[in-house]
Symmetry: C2
Subunit: 364 residues, 2 copies
Amino acid sequence: MGSNKKERIVGNKKSKVLSSLKNLGSRVYNQLENGFFPSITMPSRSTENINYDPDLRQYILGEKIVLRNSRIFTQTRGFTQLVWAATFSHELASQRKTSTLRDVYYSAQAYEMVFKDQQESNNIITDLETVLGLSREDFNIFPEERSAVFGDLTIAYTVPGYEGRTLNLTSHPDGVLIGPALTSAEFVGTTADKVIAIEKGGLFTRFVEENVHKKFNALLISTAGQAPRATRHFIRRLNREFNLPVYIFTDGDPWGMHIAMVIISGSANAAHLRELTTPDAKWMGVWASDIVDYKLPTYPLKEVDFTRLHELQRDPRYQTDPLWQKEIKTFLKIRKKAEQEAFSRYGLTYIVDEYLPAKLGETK
Amino acid sequence: MGSNKKERIVGNKKSKVLSSLKNLGSRVYNQLENGFFPSITMPSRSTENINYDPDLRQYILGEKIVLRNSRIFTQTRGFTQLVWAATFSHELASQRKTSTLRDVYYSAQAYEMVFKDQQESNNIITDLETVLGLSREDFNIFPEERSAVFGDLTIAYTVPGYEGRTLNLTSHPDGVLIGPALTSAEFVGTTADKVIAIEKGGLFTRFVEENVHKKFNALLISTAGQAPRATRHFIRRLNREFNLPVYIFTDGDPWGMHIAMVIISGSANAAHLRELTTPDAKWMGVWASDIVDYKLPTYPLKEVDFTRLHELQRDPRYQTDPLWQKEIKTFLKIRKKAEQEAFSRYGLTYIVDEYLPAKLGETK
């Protein structure tokens, strides 16, 4: 894609966010002008309205609609909070300032808007996401957690003071933080032909040191545990904008498996959003069968691990690829788990020299 | 300082690490050649041997010495593990590869060295730190946690593939990760005249967006909660190498206060180390008295907060500056705590426009 087209995409996203927020405001004004108590409708996020969509390969919201009506006394508070959240988000997005969920809670007090606690303001922000079909990161509300990326990707910033400045993501060998500035950047170009996401920070550093980005022509992502939403969106963009296949590498246990799954198919909590998944991404290890094949050092599965495996076995997201059910069964059979670092029992570089090439050949 | 002198310092550190490890090995060989069972001595790290030193303003180890003697059956295991840890650390440092504590545990198995669990291998690495008086980061064993820095500091890398390459730490507005590569870099130069360390990542981003680095001519550090040791060492270097005063800004509660204290005076756990403290750094807020003066939104102190405040009241580190005792008393009196984000109740930029200038004027 040419750089002009990219700028249009990023520009479009920003103006889409602002115009969505303005439209919401206009709807409220129109209702008032026509003599109605204003109200806002949105899809229900209650459990019975969350369904797995096999085509989209993610959870989506069903047909059930809920109303925030200023005329109904018990809904006036929620309606007012939602309109305030939209106003505040519009301020953030148009002034190009970022915020956090916690900050939103305190900022409300500057407007004499009352939230009982942060949970209540968090819920209202999720309501706003649902109404607009946009992620809170789109209107500049970011989480505290940051993960990192490394490799030959050149980006161009769009944040104030850095507009048009480019950065190549090999610039810092500790990895480049995926915060608001990188999230809102345009992708200029890459020579990589794949993305490798890694759960553990220490292993990410090992991969950089061992030149995995060069040897495997890859962009490396450190998810630092469960990938923050900004990182999941970043991975999706790499997959969509450059057609790069994505390989995910986690600990060999139900929790690691699910870190991969949330990158691939998202979570039920984000059923109202569409831009956080990468359905074609592949979980490449540590599989239960790797534990057997590579004779890895292990820990015994605990009760909580077994419970989780049985939950995942029934989860619709784990029905999409026979790999998941096969590996869950193997975990249940061997009753063991292994960490990514377990490969170090064969030497520090075994994972890069032997395991990675074997797996990439296998999963390609 | 000229760049030649800097290179010598960094080069000296590296060769100091390698020669310390070699000396340890030579001592073992000499004992063997002279017909003795080899043994290693080190200061005891037991509680009664940890004392607060008012001159160094940190905890130090006392005179009590412990022995790891290969001749004594119950000590043979510990002795062997310690020698192995030294060998492995020498390999890491000379091959310039980094590792983590977890990786050390698994790597041992590649040498048929047995550790009962990771706790046992962690302890041996701390033994090695104690023997050498060096931090495990010096022999390339890094934690998973990373914090970040932003501002006009130019560094020159020393890691393989990046030797001599420079980076200015305004290059990425999300902040530059303080990992192994940045930790081992030389400082080339800075125009900043102070360091501001911030507990919360969201606020760090706010400070970058509001150009605090320019307005206050500061380097900004995101500690991301309790500062990792590499970050504490990084702050100390900025203070020592450039004579920069350091101001620390945390939540207004005993836990935030102690995040500042650990940057200033270190922890009892690191009593065997000397390069992790910045005794002249100042805790600048959120003070208990700020909660009163700025009428901040608060939460009530919980039982666990009160217990912690009483502990800190007796802690020798909190006897060094009357500020600590005064603020602890105020917390106990108002029975409330406040987060850094609480200033947003006066608008998003109040903290930068009003609070920071007031505090920097006061604490300078």
